[in-house]
Protein backbone atom coordinates (compact mmCIF):
# COMPACT_ATOMS: atom_id res chain seq x y z
CA UNK A 1 0.00 0.00 0.00
CA UNK A 2 1.31 3.45 -0.91
CA UNK A 3 1.35 5.70 2.12
CA UNK A 4 2.58 9.24 1.45
CA UNK A 5 4.27 11.73 3.78
CA UNK A 6 0.91 13.55 4.09
CA UNK A 7 -0.70 10.36 5.36
CA UNK A 8 2.02 9.86 7.96
CA UNK A 9 1.60 13.51 9.04
CA UNK A 10 -2.16 12.95 9.42
CA UNK A 11 -1.50 9.92 11.66
CA UNK A 12 1.02 11.90 13.74
CA UNK A 13 -1.50 14.75 14.13
CA UNK A 14 -4.11 12.26 15.34
CA UNK A 15 -1.76 10.75 17.95
CA UNK A 16 -0.80 14.29 19.04
CA UNK A 17 -4.46 15.15 19.65
CA UNK A 18 -4.91 11.94 21.67
CA UNK A 19 -1.85 12.92 23.73
CA UNK A 20 -3.25 16.44 24.34
CA UNK A 21 -6.63 15.08 25.45
CA UNK A 22 -4.93 12.48 27.64
CA UNK A 23 -2.85 15.26 29.21
CA UNK A 24 -5.86 17.52 29.83
CA UNK A 25 -7.86 14.75 31.51
CA UNK A 26 -4.99 12.94 33.21
CA UNK A 27 -5.46 13.89 36.84
CA UNK A 28 -7.57 11.54 38.94
CA UNK A 29 -7.30 11.77 42.69
CA UNK A 30 -9.86 9.25 43.87
CA UNK A 31 -10.88 5.76 42.78
CA UNK A 32 -14.42 7.03 42.24
CA UNK A 33 -13.05 9.46 39.63
CA UNK A 34 -11.02 6.69 38.02
CA UNK A 35 -13.87 4.17 37.84
CA UNK A 36 -17.13 6.12 37.41
CA UNK A 37 -15.97 9.76 37.08
CA UNK A 38 -17.94 10.62 40.23
CA UNK A 39 -21.19 10.23 38.20
CA UNK A 40 -20.50 13.40 36.19
CA UNK A 41 -20.63 12.24 32.56
CA UNK A 42 -23.17 14.19 30.47
CA UNK A 43 -25.60 12.55 28.06
CA UNK A 44 -23.77 13.57 24.85
CA UNK A 45 -20.51 12.05 26.04
CA UNK A 46 -22.29 8.83 27.11
CA UNK A 47 -23.66 8.65 23.55
CA UNK A 48 -20.28 9.35 21.92
CA UNK A 49 -18.37 6.98 24.16
CA UNK A 50 -20.86 4.13 23.77
CA UNK A 51 -20.91 4.57 20.00
CA UNK A 52 -17.10 4.75 19.84
CA UNK A 53 -16.85 1.59 21.95
CA UNK A 54 -19.25 -0.56 19.95
CA UNK A 55 -17.97 0.69 16.58
CA UNK A 56 -14.95 -1.55 16.61
CA UNK A 57 -13.14 -3.14 13.65
CA UNK A 58 -15.99 -5.65 13.27
CA UNK A 59 -18.58 -2.88 12.98
CA UNK A 60 -16.55 -1.06 10.31
CA UNK A 61 -14.13 -3.14 8.20
CA UNK A 62 -15.93 -6.43 9.03
CA UNK A 63 -19.42 -5.26 8.11
CA UNK A 64 -18.21 -3.55 4.93
CA UNK A 65 -16.91 -6.94 3.80
CA UNK A 66 -20.33 -8.43 4.64
CA UNK A 67 -21.97 -5.67 2.56
CA UNK A 68 -19.67 -6.55 -0.33
CA UNK A 69 -20.63 -10.23 -0.15
CA UNK A 70 -24.31 -10.13 0.77
CA UNK A 71 -25.58 -6.57 0.28
CA UNK A 72 -27.84 -5.33 3.06
CA UNK A 73 -28.67 -8.79 4.48
CA UNK A 74 -26.56 -8.23 7.58
CA UNK A 75 -28.05 -4.75 8.00
CA UNK A 76 -31.35 -6.40 8.84
CA UNK A 77 -29.68 -9.09 11.01
CA UNK A 78 -27.54 -6.53 12.86
CA UNK A 79 -30.61 -4.41 13.48
CA UNK A 80 -31.24 -6.54 16.58
CA UNK A 81 -28.13 -4.88 18.02
CA UNK A 82 -29.75 -1.47 17.56
CA UNK A 83 -33.01 -2.67 19.11
CA UNK A 84 -31.05 -4.13 22.04
CA UNK A 85 -29.15 -0.87 22.67
CA UNK A 86 -32.36 1.18 22.58
CA UNK A 87 -34.15 -1.30 24.89
CA UNK A 88 -31.21 -1.20 27.32
CA UNK A 89 -31.52 2.60 27.23
CA UNK A 90 -35.24 2.53 27.99
CA UNK A 91 -35.43 -0.33 30.48
CA UNK A 92 -32.06 -1.14 32.05
CA UNK A 93 -29.56 1.76 31.99
CA UNK A 94 -31.79 4.10 34.08
CA UNK A 95 -32.18 1.32 36.67
CA UNK A 96 -28.41 0.69 36.75
CA UNK A 97 -27.52 4.35 37.14
CA UNK A 98 -29.63 4.46 40.33
CA UNK A 99 -27.03 2.22 42.01
CA UNK A 100 -24.93 5.21 43.02
CA UNK A 101 -22.67 3.18 45.32
CA UNK A 102 -21.80 0.60 42.62
CA UNK A 103 -18.72 0.82 40.38
CA UNK A 104 -19.15 -2.44 38.44
CA UNK A 105 -21.78 -4.98 37.47
CA UNK A 106 -20.21 -7.26 40.10
CA UNK A 107 -21.20 -4.71 42.75
CA UNK A 108 -24.76 -4.76 41.42
CA UNK A 109 -24.78 -8.57 41.35
CA UNK A 110 -23.74 -8.66 45.02
CA UNK A 111 -26.85 -6.69 45.95
CA UNK A 112 -28.99 -9.40 44.40
CA UNK A 113 -27.04 -12.61 44.95
CA UNK A 114 -24.27 -12.09 47.52
CA UNK A 115 -20.49 -12.12 47.45
CA UNK A 116 -19.87 -15.37 45.57
CA UNK A 117 -21.90 -14.16 42.57
CA UNK A 118 -20.04 -10.84 42.84
CA UNK A 119 -16.71 -12.70 42.61
CA UNK A 120 -17.88 -14.85 39.69
CA UNK A 121 -19.17 -11.80 37.84
CA UNK A 122 -15.84 -10.07 38.45
CA UNK A 123 -13.73 -12.97 37.17
CA UNK A 124 -15.84 -13.23 34.01
CA UNK A 125 -15.68 -9.43 33.52
CA UNK A 126 -11.88 -9.35 33.84
CA UNK A 127 -11.45 -12.37 31.54
CA UNK A 128 -13.76 -10.85 28.95
CA UNK A 129 -12.00 -7.47 29.11
CA UNK A 130 -8.59 -9.13 28.60
CA UNK A 131 -10.01 -11.14 25.68
CA UNK A 132 -11.54 -8.09 23.97
CA UNK A 133 -8.41 -6.04 24.63
CA UNK A 134 -6.21 -8.73 23.04
CA UNK A 135 -8.44 -8.87 19.96
CA UNK A 136 -8.33 -5.07 19.62
CA UNK A 137 -4.54 -5.07 20.12
CA UNK A 138 -4.12 -7.57 17.31
CA UNK A 139 -6.31 -5.62 14.90
CA UNK A 140 -4.85 -2.22 15.85
CA UNK A 141 -1.31 -3.58 15.53
CA UNK A 142 -2.14 -4.95 12.09
CA UNK A 143 -3.46 -1.56 10.93
CA UNK A 144 -0.41 0.29 12.21
CA UNK A 145 1.81 -2.27 10.51
CA UNK A 146 -0.05 -1.62 7.23
CA UNK A 147 0.58 2.11 7.59
CA UNK A 148 4.17 2.05 8.79
CA UNK A 149 5.67 -1.29 7.79
CA UNK A 150 7.02 -1.84 11.31
CA UNK A 151 7.03 -5.40 12.77
CA UNK A 152 3.59 -6.60 13.96
CA UNK A 153 4.62 -7.23 17.56
CA UNK A 154 6.05 -3.72 17.86
CA UNK A 155 2.86 -2.25 16.37
CA UNK A 156 0.68 -4.24 18.80
CA UNK A 157 2.84 -2.95 21.67
CA UNK A 158 2.65 0.69 20.44
CA UNK A 159 -1.16 0.73 20.11
CA UNK A 160 -1.69 -1.04 23.44
CA UNK A 161 0.87 1.08 25.31
CA UNK A 162 -0.55 4.41 24.07
CA UNK A 163 -4.06 3.29 25.03
CA UNK A 164 -2.91 1.98 28.41
CA UNK A 165 -1.01 5.18 29.22
CA UNK A 166 -3.95 7.54 28.96
CA UNK A 167 -6.33 5.04 30.59
CA UNK A 168 -3.76 4.55 33.37
CA UNK A 169 -3.59 8.23 34.22
CA UNK A 170 -7.09 9.54 33.60
CA UNK A 171 -9.29 6.46 34.11
CA UNK A 172 -12.79 6.47 32.68
CA UNK A 173 -12.82 10.26 32.20
CA UNK A 174 -9.78 10.14 29.90
CA UNK A 175 -11.25 7.10 28.18
CA UNK A 176 -14.54 8.94 27.51
CA UNK A 177 -12.83 12.17 26.40
CA UNK A 178 -10.59 10.36 23.91
CA UNK A 179 -13.60 8.27 22.80
CA UNK A 180 -15.29 11.58 21.94
CA UNK A 181 -12.31 12.66 19.85
CA UNK A 182 -12.13 9.27 18.15
CA UNK A 183 -15.90 9.32 17.47
CA UNK A 184 -15.55 12.78 15.93
CA UNK A 185 -12.85 11.51 13.60
CA UNK A 186 -14.39 8.28 12.32
CA UNK A 187 -18.00 9.56 12.18
CA UNK A 188 -16.79 12.24 9.73
CA UNK A 189 -14.04 10.63 7.63
CA UNK A 190 -15.77 7.29 6.86
CA UNK A 191 -19.10 8.86 5.73
CA UNK A 192 -17.03 11.28 3.60
CA UNK A 193 -15.56 8.20 1.92
CA UNK A 194 -19.09 6.98 1.09
CA UNK A 195 -20.04 10.40 -0.29
CA UNK A 196 -16.95 10.25 -2.52
CA UNK A 197 -18.05 6.77 -3.68
CA UNK A 198 -21.57 8.06 -4.41
CA UNK A 199 -20.44 11.07 -6.42
CA UNK A 200 -17.52 9.37 -8.17
CA UNK A 201 -19.47 6.29 -9.28
CA UNK A 202 -20.23 6.28 -13.02
CA UNK A 203 -23.19 3.98 -12.53
CA UNK A 204 -26.64 5.44 -11.68
CA UNK A 205 -27.97 4.91 -8.15
CA UNK A 206 -30.84 2.78 -9.48
CA UNK A 207 -28.34 0.21 -10.79
CA UNK A 208 -26.50 0.21 -7.46
CA UNK A 209 -29.83 -0.42 -5.74
CA UNK A 210 -30.56 -3.34 -8.11
CA UNK A 211 -27.14 -4.82 -7.34
CA UNK A 212 -27.77 -4.43 -3.61
CA UNK A 213 -31.12 -6.24 -3.86
CA UNK A 214 -29.50 -9.03 -5.90
CA UNK A 215 -26.68 -9.47 -3.35
CA UNK A 216 -29.10 -9.41 -0.41
CA UNK A 217 -31.31 -12.09 -2.02
CA UNK A 218 -28.32 -14.29 -2.82
CA UNK A 219 -26.99 -13.89 0.73
CA UNK A 220 -30.35 -14.74 2.26
CA UNK A 221 -30.74 -17.79 0.03
CA UNK A 222 -27.34 -19.11 1.11
CA UNK A 223 -28.17 -19.24 4.81
CA UNK A 224 -29.99 -21.83 6.88
CA UNK A 225 -32.64 -20.90 9.45
CA UNK A 226 -30.38 -21.96 12.33
CA UNK A 227 -27.55 -19.77 11.01
CA UNK A 228 -29.89 -16.78 10.88
CA UNK A 229 -31.08 -17.46 14.46
CA UNK A 230 -27.47 -17.75 15.65
CA UNK A 231 -26.49 -14.42 14.07
CA UNK A 232 -29.61 -12.66 15.35
CA UNK A 233 -28.88 -13.91 18.88
CA UNK A 234 -25.22 -12.91 18.71
CA UNK A 235 -26.12 -9.37 17.69
CA UNK A 236 -28.99 -9.21 20.18
CA UNK A 237 -27.23 -10.53 23.28
CA UNK A 238 -23.50 -10.95 22.60
CA UNK A 239 -22.46 -7.50 23.78
CA UNK A 240 -25.46 -6.51 25.89
CA UNK A 241 -24.23 -4.55 28.91
CA UNK A 242 -20.67 -5.89 28.76
CA UNK A 243 -18.51 -4.21 31.45
CA UNK A 244 -17.52 -1.03 29.54
CA UNK A 245 -21.14 -0.29 28.61
CA UNK A 246 -22.35 -0.96 32.14
CA UNK A 247 -19.62 1.33 33.52
CA UNK A 248 -20.89 4.13 31.30
CA UNK A 249 -24.42 3.62 32.60
CA UNK A 250 -23.02 3.80 36.16
CA UNK A 251 -20.88 6.88 35.36
CA UNK A 252 -23.75 8.90 33.87
CA UNK A 253 -24.69 12.17 35.51
CA UNK A 254 -28.28 10.99 35.98
CA UNK A 255 -30.75 8.30 34.94
CA UNK A 256 -31.93 10.63 32.19
CA UNK A 257 -28.39 11.09 30.84
CA UNK A 258 -27.86 7.35 30.85
CA UNK A 259 -31.16 6.73 29.06
CA UNK A 260 -30.51 9.43 26.45
CA UNK A 261 -26.95 8.15 25.86
CA UNK A 262 -28.02 4.56 25.18
CA UNK A 263 -31.04 5.46 23.03
CA UNK A 264 -29.10 7.90 20.83
CA UNK A 265 -26.20 5.42 20.56
CA UNK A 266 -28.75 2.86 19.29
CA UNK A 267 -30.15 5.35 16.77
CA UNK A 268 -26.63 6.22 15.59
CA UNK A 269 -26.08 2.48 15.08
CA UNK A 270 -28.88 2.45 12.47
CA UNK A 271 -27.10 5.26 10.60
CA UNK A 272 -23.64 3.76 10.97
CA UNK A 273 -24.64 0.29 9.77
CA UNK A 274 -26.30 1.83 6.71
CA UNK A 275 -23.03 3.62 5.87
CA UNK A 276 -20.68 0.64 6.24
CA UNK A 277 -22.95 -1.77 4.35
CA UNK A 278 -23.37 0.80 1.55
CA UNK A 279 -19.56 1.05 1.30
CA UNK A 280 -19.55 -2.71 0.74
CA UNK A 281 -22.22 -2.45 -1.96
CA UNK A 282 -20.36 0.39 -3.74
CA UNK A 283 -17.23 -1.76 -3.54
CA UNK A 284 -18.53 -3.77 -6.54
CA UNK A 285 -18.18 -0.66 -8.72
CA UNK A 286 -14.88 0.53 -7.34
CA UNK A 287 -12.61 -2.38 -6.40
CA UNK A 288 -11.26 -5.01 -8.84
CA UNK A 289 -13.16 -8.32 -9.11
CA UNK A 290 -11.73 -11.02 -6.89
CA UNK A 291 -10.69 -8.60 -4.13
CA UNK A 292 -10.68 -10.27 -0.72
CA UNK A 293 -13.89 -8.99 1.01
CA UNK A 294 -11.86 -8.12 4.13
CA UNK A 295 -9.72 -5.76 2.00
CA UNK A 296 -12.65 -3.93 0.37
CA UNK A 297 -12.79 -1.19 3.00
CA UNK A 298 -9.14 -0.22 2.81
CA UNK A 299 -8.97 -0.68 -0.98
CA UNK A 300 -11.86 1.79 -1.36
CA UNK A 301 -10.06 4.23 0.92
CA UNK A 302 -6.94 4.04 -1.26
CA UNK A 303 -8.98 4.46 -4.42
CA UNK A 304 -11.27 7.26 -3.27
CA UNK A 305 -9.38 9.44 -0.82
CA UNK A 306 -6.69 11.96 -1.70
CA UNK A 307 -3.24 11.91 -0.12
CA UNK A 308 -3.46 12.95 3.54
CA UNK A 309 -7.12 11.95 3.80
CA UNK A 310 -6.02 8.31 3.47
CA UNK A 311 -3.79 8.91 6.50
CA UNK A 312 -6.84 10.27 8.30
CA UNK A 313 -8.73 7.11 7.36
CA UNK A 314 -5.92 4.97 8.79
CA UNK A 315 -5.93 7.18 11.89
CA UNK A 316 -9.73 6.75 12.08
CA UNK A 317 -9.29 2.96 11.93
CA UNK A 318 -6.67 3.06 14.69
CA UNK A 319 -9.06 5.37 16.62
CA UNK A 320 -11.85 2.80 16.20
CA UNK A 321 -9.60 0.17 17.78
CA UNK A 322 -8.23 2.38 20.56
CA UNK A 323 -11.64 3.70 21.58
CA UNK A 324 -12.85 0.13 22.11
CA UNK A 325 -9.62 -0.99 23.78
CA UNK A 326 -9.41 1.86 26.32
CA UNK A 327 -12.97 1.17 27.48
CA UNK A 328 -12.36 -2.54 28.12
CA UNK A 329 -9.01 -1.82 29.80
CA UNK A 330 -10.59 0.62 32.23
CA UNK A 331 -13.59 -1.65 32.91
CA UNK A 332 -11.28 -4.63 33.51
CA UNK A 333 -9.00 -2.76 35.92
CA UNK A 334 -12.00 -1.46 37.91
CA UNK A 335 -13.35 -5.01 38.09
CA UNK A 336 -9.99 -6.25 39.44
CA UNK A 337 -10.18 -3.69 42.27
CA UNK A 338 -13.87 -3.98 43.15
CA UNK A 339 -14.83 -7.53 42.24
CA UNK A 340 -11.71 -9.59 42.93
CA UNK A 341 -9.25 -7.89 45.31
CA UNK A 342 -11.95 -6.01 47.17
CA UNK A 343 -14.41 -8.87 47.41
CA UNK A 344 -14.22 -9.26 51.21
CA UNK A 345 -13.32 -5.73 52.17
CA UNK A 346 -13.08 -2.82 49.75
CA UNK A 347 -9.57 -1.33 49.54
CA UNK A 348 -8.92 2.16 50.94
CA UNK A 349 -9.40 4.82 48.27
CA UNK A 350 -5.74 5.66 47.55
CA UNK A 351 -4.77 2.00 47.44
CA UNK A 352 -7.77 1.22 45.19
CA UNK A 353 -6.68 3.96 42.77
CA UNK A 354 -3.11 2.64 42.69
CA UNK A 355 -4.26 -0.96 42.18
CA UNK A 356 -6.67 0.20 39.45
CA UNK A 357 -3.81 1.86 37.61
CA UNK A 358 -1.55 -1.17 37.99
CA UNK A 359 -4.48 -3.31 36.81
CA UNK A 360 -4.65 -1.27 33.59
CA UNK A 361 -0.99 -2.01 32.88
CA UNK A 362 -1.43 -5.70 33.74
CA UNK A 363 -4.41 -6.02 31.37
CA UNK A 364 -2.43 -4.24 28.64
CA UNK A 365 0.57 -6.55 29.13
CA UNK A 366 -1.51 -9.75 29.19
CA UNK A 367 -3.53 -8.56 26.16
CA UNK A 368 -0.31 -7.91 24.21
CA UNK A 369 0.95 -11.44 24.90
CA UNK A 370 -2.42 -13.07 24.20
CA UNK A 371 -2.71 -11.01 20.96
CA UNK A 372 0.63 -12.38 19.81
CA UNK A 373 -0.37 -16.00 20.28
CA UNK A 374 -4.14 -15.98 19.70
CA UNK A 375 -4.91 -18.03 16.59
CA UNK A 376 -7.97 -16.28 15.26
CA UNK A 377 -9.69 -12.95 15.83
CA UNK A 378 -13.14 -14.17 14.83
CA UNK A 379 -12.94 -17.31 17.00
CA UNK A 380 -11.87 -15.20 19.99
CA UNK A 381 -14.75 -12.77 19.47
CA UNK A 382 -17.29 -15.58 19.16
CA UNK A 383 -16.15 -17.15 22.44
CA UNK A 384 -16.33 -13.77 24.23
CA UNK A 385 -19.84 -13.13 22.85
CA UNK A 386 -21.15 -16.57 23.76
CA UNK A 387 -19.99 -16.44 27.41
CA UNK A 388 -21.32 -13.08 28.62
CA UNK A 389 -25.09 -13.37 28.13
CA UNK A 390 -25.56 -16.88 29.61
CA UNK A 391 -23.32 -16.21 32.60
CA UNK A 392 -23.69 -12.67 33.90
CA UNK A 393 -26.42 -11.03 31.81
CA UNK A 394 -29.21 -13.50 32.58
CA UNK A 395 -28.78 -13.31 36.36
CA UNK A 396 -28.36 -9.53 36.24
CA UNK A 397 -31.55 -8.92 34.24
CA UNK A 398 -33.63 -11.19 36.48
CA UNK A 399 -32.19 -9.42 39.53
CA UNK A 400 -32.99 -5.98 38.14
CA UNK A 401 -36.61 -6.84 37.45
CA UNK A 402 -37.43 -9.07 40.45
CA UNK A 403 -38.21 -7.65 43.86
CA UNK A 404 -36.73 -10.64 45.70
CA UNK A 405 -33.80 -12.86 44.78
CA UNK A 406 -32.15 -16.03 46.09
CA UNK A 407 -28.34 -16.08 46.35
CA UNK A 408 -27.99 -19.69 45.15
CA UNK A 409 -30.04 -18.94 42.03
CA UNK A 410 -27.57 -16.24 41.05
CA UNK A 411 -24.29 -18.12 41.31
CA UNK A 412 -25.76 -21.39 40.01
CA UNK A 413 -27.07 -19.58 36.95
CA UNK A 414 -23.74 -17.81 36.35
CA UNK A 415 -21.75 -21.05 36.64
CA UNK A 416 -24.15 -23.23 34.64
CA UNK A 417 -24.72 -20.66 31.89
CA UNK A 418 -21.04 -19.83 31.44
CA UNK A 419 -19.68 -23.38 31.60
CA UNK A 420 -22.38 -24.85 29.34
CA UNK A 421 -21.70 -22.17 26.76
CA UNK A 422 -17.93 -22.73 26.81
CA UNK A 423 -18.26 -26.53 26.56
CA UNK A 424 -20.85 -26.30 23.76
CA UNK A 425 -18.71 -23.87 21.78
CA UNK A 426 -15.09 -24.79 22.44
CA UNK A 427 -15.27 -28.58 23.07
CA UNK A 428 -18.41 -29.83 21.32
CA UNK A 429 -18.07 -27.26 18.48
CA UNK A 430 -21.77 -26.36 18.42
CA UNK A 431 -23.53 -29.66 17.41
CA UNK A 432 -26.21 -29.29 14.71
CA UNK A 433 -25.23 -25.64 14.41
CA UNK A 434 -27.20 -24.74 17.54
CA UNK A 435 -25.56 -21.55 18.87
CA UNK A 436 -23.70 -21.78 22.21
CA UNK A 437 -25.32 -18.59 23.45
CA UNK A 438 -28.79 -20.19 23.15
CA UNK A 439 -27.78 -23.43 24.91
CA UNK A 440 -26.02 -21.43 27.62
CA UNK A 441 -29.09 -19.25 28.20
CA UNK A 442 -31.33 -22.31 28.58
CA UNK A 443 -28.84 -23.80 31.08
CA UNK A 444 -28.72 -20.50 32.99
CA UNK A 445 -32.53 -20.35 33.18
CA UNK A 446 -32.80 -23.96 34.42
CA UNK A 447 -30.04 -23.40 37.00
CA UNK A 448 -31.73 -20.21 38.17
CA UNK A 449 -35.01 -22.07 38.64
CA UNK A 450 -33.25 -24.90 40.56
CA UNK A 451 -31.40 -22.33 42.70
CA UNK A 452 -34.70 -20.71 43.59
CA UNK A 453 -36.06 -24.07 44.73
CA UNK A 454 -33.06 -25.10 46.85
CA UNK A 455 -32.11 -21.61 48.09
CA UNK A 456 -32.15 -20.92 51.78
CA UNK A 457 -35.05 -18.70 52.70
CA UNK A 458 -32.76 -16.60 54.84
CA UNK A 459 -30.76 -15.71 51.79
CA UNK A 460 -33.74 -14.06 50.15
CA UNK A 461 -32.84 -10.38 50.02
CA UNK A 462 -35.18 -7.51 49.44
CA UNK A 463 -33.24 -4.86 47.56
CA UNK A 464 -36.04 -2.57 46.53
CA UNK A 465 -34.97 1.02 46.99
CA UNK A 466 -31.75 -0.09 48.62
CA UNK A 467 -29.53 2.04 46.45
CA UNK A 468 -31.68 5.08 45.94
Amino acid sequence: MEVTAFDIIAIIIYFSFVAIFAYLTRRTKTFSEFSIAKHTIPATMIFASLSATYVGPGFSVGLTSKGYVSGYLFYFLAFTYIIQTILVGILIAPKLSKFRDCHTLGDVLEKFYGKFSHLLGGIISVGLCIGFSAIMAKIGGGLLQTATGLPLMLCIAIVTTVTALYTFSGGIRASIATDGLQFGLFSIIIPVMLLFAFFKSDIPASQIATKAIELTREGFGGMTAIQIVAILLSFLLGETLIPPYANRALAAKSSGASKFGFITAGCFGAIWLGIVFSLGVYGHQLVPDGTNPDDVFITMGIKLLPSGALGLLLAALIAIVMSSQDSVMNAGSVAIVRDILGIHKQLPDRKALLVGRIGTIVIAAVATIVARYSPSIIEGLLICYSIWAPSVLFALLVGLFCKKTVHAAGWLSILAGGLTSIIWQAILKEPAGVPAILVGLVAAAIAYFVGNLIGNKESVLSHEGESQ
Binding site: L24, R27, S187, V192, L194, A205, S278
Partner: protein
Amino acid sequence: MIYLFSLVFPVLSIISGVIVLTMLVKFVIEIQRDIRNNT
Protein backbone atom coordinates in the same frame (compact mmCIF):
# COMPACT_ATOMS: atom_id res chain seq x y z
CA MET B 1 -33.36 3.55 0.05
CA ILE B 2 -29.96 3.79 -1.65
CA TYR B 3 -30.20 7.61 -1.42
CA LEU B 4 -31.07 7.36 2.27
CA PHE B 5 -28.08 5.09 2.98
CA SER B 6 -25.51 6.80 0.77
CA LEU B 7 -26.50 10.46 1.07
CA VAL B 8 -28.69 11.14 4.11
CA PHE B 9 -26.93 8.80 6.57
CA PRO B 10 -23.42 10.11 5.85
CA VAL B 11 -24.63 13.70 6.33
CA LEU B 12 -26.33 12.75 9.63
CA SER B 13 -23.17 11.00 10.80
CA ILE B 14 -21.01 14.02 9.94
CA ILE B 15 -23.43 16.27 11.85
CA SER B 16 -23.22 13.90 14.87
CA GLY B 17 -19.43 14.06 14.69
CA VAL B 18 -19.41 17.87 14.63
CA ILE B 19 -21.87 18.07 17.56
CA VAL B 20 -19.80 15.60 19.60
CA LEU B 21 -16.55 17.48 18.92
CA THR B 22 -18.23 20.71 20.06
CA MET B 23 -19.58 19.09 23.23
CA LEU B 24 -16.20 17.45 23.80
CA VAL B 25 -14.53 20.87 24.10
CA LYS B 26 -17.13 21.81 26.74
CA PHE B 27 -16.57 18.49 28.54
CA VAL B 28 -12.79 18.93 28.65
CA ILE B 29 -13.17 22.53 29.92
CA GLU B 30 -15.42 21.19 32.73
CA ILE B 31 -12.84 18.52 33.59
CA GLN B 32 -10.11 21.19 33.70
CA ARG B 33 -12.27 23.35 35.98
CA ASP B 34 -12.93 20.36 38.23
CA ILE B 35 -9.21 19.53 38.38
CA ARG B 36 -8.35 23.15 39.22
CA ASN B 37 -11.00 23.28 41.97
CA ASN B 38 -9.61 20.11 43.53
CA THR B 39 -6.00 21.29 43.66
